[in-house]
C-alpha cells in the first residue's frame, strides 16, 4: 500500500504535552498542577442560558459568522473593556474556540513561504498551524531576564523580507508574562516599519494582574493590521463550550469567514446563546474569578520565594514559570522525577518550545488547599535534591 500520510503531517512533531499526559495518566492518585483551564465551573446563569436554548429548540445552524446579536455584544464588550472600536458585525467572526481562529487566521493571510514570527515559550498550536497553512515559522526565544516579554530588539533581529505575520501571545501561556503599554509601543515601531500583520492571541486578557490589559489593536494605526483573537474559555470558565472569536479588518475577517464556512459552518449554537448571557451579565463573575486567581498567584510566589525556587513574577494568565536550572536536570527529567517521587504533575517548559528548557509550567487553576499540598511535596522534593548535591 502506498504511504497514506501526507509528509507535512507525518513530519509534524507530536505535542510535548501529549507525551507527558500519557506518563501522568498511568500514575494513580497524582496531584496535578498541569491543567490549562479554569477550575471554576461555568457560572450557573450562563449554563442555564445554554440549557434554555436547548429547551427552546434552538438546535439549528446560525449564520456562518455567528449570531448577529452575539457579534454585536462582542464589539460592545471589546469597546467597554479594551477601548477599541469595532463598528459592526462584519468585523467579527465567531469561531470554535480561539484555536480555530488561529488556524483559519493564518490560512487566510499566508502564501507559501511567508514567514510567521512566533515568540516562544508559547501555546503549542502556532507552529503547526503555520506549517499547515504553508508558512514558515520563525521562532523568537523570549528571555527570563526580560520577564519573557517580546522586545523590539528581539523582534527586529528575526525579520526578513519574507516576514508577514507576528504572533503576539500575551498574557502568555505558559510563562504568565504580560506586555504592558510601553512594551507594545516599542514593538509597534518595528511592526509598522516592516509592514507586518499581527495576530494577537489575547485569550487570557481578563486575567491580567498589573493594571488593565492593553491590546495592541488599541495603539495608533494598529487596528487595521491586527487580527485580535479572544474567546470565552478562560474569562468565563467555558473551555468545553468551544467558543472564541476573531476581530479584525473586514477584508481579513471576510476571507476567514469563507474558510470557516467550508470547514466548520458555524460555531455551536447553544454555546453562542450561553455566550450572549456571559457578555451581558458576566462581568461580576469574571472579576471574582480574577481575584481568586490573583490570591493564588501571590500565595505561590510567596511560597517559591520562601523555598528559594527562582521565579520571575508573572502578572497574567494562571501560570507561573519557575526556573529549575540549579538542579542540573532537564525540564523533562525534573518533571518525571517529581511525578515519580512525589506524585505531583507539572508540565516541562520544553512542551512550549525548546527555549522552555530549564523551566516548569505550574498552573494555579486549583484551590489553595490543593496548591498547599502540592507545594509541600515540591518543597520536600527540592530539599532532597539539594541535600544530595
Amino acid at each position: 500500500m502506498r504511504e497514506p500520510i501526507a509528509k507535512k503531517v507525518s513530519e509534524m512533531k507530536p505535542s510535548g504535552i501529549r507525551k507527558f499526559f500519557d506518563i501522568v495518566s498511568e500514575m494513580k492518585d497524582a496531584i496535578s498542577l498541569g491543567v490549562g483551564e479554569p477550575d471554576f465551573d461555568t457560572p450557573w446563569h450562563i449554563r442555564d442560558e445554554g440549557i434554555y436554548s436547548l429547551e427552546k429548540g434552538r438546535t439549528f445552524y446560525t449564520s456562518n459568522s455567528g449570531l448577529k446579536e452575539l457579534r454585536h455584544e462582542i464589539c460592545e464588550y471589546i469597546r467597554r473593556h479594551y477601548n477599541v472600536n469595532y463598528t459592526g458585525e462584519k468585523d467579527v467572526l465567531i469561531t470554535v474556540g480561539g484555536s480555530e481562529a488561529i488556524d483559519i487566521g493564518l490560512r487566510a493571510v499566508l502564501d507559501p513561504g511567508d514567514e510567521v514570527v512566533i515568540p516562544q515559550p508559547s501555546y503549542v498550536s502556532y507552529e503547526p498551524c503555520t506549517i499547515m497553512a504553508g508558512g514558515v515559522p520563525v521562532i523568537v526565544e523570549l528571555k527570563e531576564e526580560n520577564e519573557f516579554r517580546l522586545t523590539a530588539d528581539d523582534l527586529e533581529k528575526v525579520i526578513t523580507p519574507r516576514t508577514k505575520v507576528l504572533i503576539l501571545p500575551f498574557p502568555n501561556n505558559p510563562t504568565g508574562a504580560i506586555m504592558e503599554r510601553s512594551d507594545l509601543e516599542s514593538i509597534r515601531e518595528v511592526i509598522l516599519k516592516h509592514d507586518l500583520l499581527v495576530m494577537s492571541d489575547e485569550i487570557y486578557s481578563e486575567l491580567s494582574y498589573k493594571g488593565d490589559h492593553v491590546t495592541i489593536a488599541s495603539l495608533p494605526d494598529m487596528q487595521e493590521r491586527t487580527i485580535l483573537i479572544n474567546g470565552f474559555s478562560k474569562a468565563f470558565a467555558m473551555t468545553g463550550w468551544r467558543l472564541g472569536y476573531a476581530l479584525g479588518p473586514q477584508r481579513i475577517i471576510e476571507q476567514m469567514t469563507k474558510i470557516h464556512q467550508y470547514c466548520i459552518m458555524c460555531a455551536p449554537t447553544n454555546s453562542q446563546y450561553a455566550a450572549l448571557e456571559a457578555l451581558r451579565h458576566g462581568d461580576q463573575d469574571v472579576a471574582q474569578m480574577k481575584e481568586a486567581y490573583n490570591e493564588r498567584r501571590r500565595f505561590l510566589m510567596h511560597e517559591f520565594h520562601r523555598i528559594g525556587l527562582k521565579c520571575f513574577e508573572p502578572y497574567g494568565a494562571f501560570y507561573v514559570f519557575p526556573s529549575i536550572k540549579e538542579f542540573g536536570m532537564t525540564s523533562d527529567e525534573f518533571a518525571v522525577k517529581l511525578l515519580e517521587a512525589k506524585k505531583v504533575a507539572v508540565v516541562p517548559g520544553t512542551a512550549f518550545g525548546s527555549c522552555g528548557e530549564g523551566f516548569l509550567r505550574i498552573s494555579y487553576a486549583y484551590s489553595i488547599e490543593n496548591l498547599k499540598i502540592a507545594l509541600e511535596r515540591i518543597e520536600e522534593f527540592i530539599m532532597e535534591l539539594r541535600g544530595r548535591a
Partner: protein, 166 residues
C-alpha cells in the same frame, strides 16, 4: 472606595467563607501586611461588623437529633417601637436561632432548632403563639438542607478535568 474600606471588604469576603484562615496566609494572598489585616479585624470586631466565628456543620451526617423549623409570624407592631420590642421578646428565647423582619404576608421569620418535632411545636404553641402581639404562626419544618450559607451540603463535586492540558 478608600484603601481601608477596600481592605476591609477583601478581608470580609475571604473570612465569610473561610473562618479559620490563617491571618499570615490571608495577608499573603491579599498582597498586604499581616499587621494591617490583624488590626482591621480587631477593629471590625470592636465595631460589631464581625459578630462572631462559627462552624458550618451538617448535623444530618452525625447521630445528633436536630429538627429545624422556619416559622412565619404575624404580629401587631407597637406604637413608637415598631417590631423591635416583639422581636426582642422572641429572639431572647435560647431555642430561637435567627429572627428576621421580612416583607410580604408575614412580619417576622423565626428560625429555631429543637431535638424533636414535639419540642418545636410545643415552643410554637406554648410560647410563641401565646405572646400578646402575635397574631398567627405558620411553621415549616426543614426536611433536607441542600445549601447553607453558600456551601453545598447535598453533594461533593470532584475535579473531572484531565490531568494535563495545554
Amino acid at each position: 472606595m478608600d484603601e481601608i474600606t477596600e481592605l476591609r471588604m477583601k478581608i470580609l469576603k475571604a473570612i465569610e467563607h473561610e473562618g479559620r484562615v490563617d491571618l499570615k496566609e490571608l495577608a499573603i494572598r491579599l498582597g498586604v501586611d499581616e499587621t494591617d489585616v490583624a488590626n482591621e479585624m480587631a477593629d471590625m470586631e470592636k465595631e460589631g461588623i464581625i459578630c462572631g466565628y462559627q462552624t458550618l456543620i451538617d448535623w444530618d451526617k452525625t447521630d445528633a437529633q436536630i429538627v429545624t423549623a422556619l416559622i412565619e409570624v404575624r404580629v401587631t407592631p407597637q406604637r413608637g417601637q415598631g417590631f423591635d420590642v416583639i422581636a426582642e421578646r422572641i429572639y431572647k428565647y435560647a431555642e430561637v436561632d435567627s429572627v428576621y423582619l421580612i416583607s410580604g404576608g408575614f412580619d417576622l421569620m423565626v428560625i429555631m432548632e429543637g431535638r424533636t418535632l414535639k419540642e418545636v411545636s410545643t415552643f410554637v404553641t406554648d410560647k410563641l403563639s401565646a405572646l400578646d402581639s402575635v397574631l398567627s404562626c405558620a411553621t415549616h419544618f426543614i426536611l433536607r438542607k441542600y445549601k447553607v450559607n453558600g456551601t453545598i451540603l447535598a453533594k461533593r463535586y470532584e475535579d473531572e478535568r484531565m490531568l494535563i492540558t495545554p
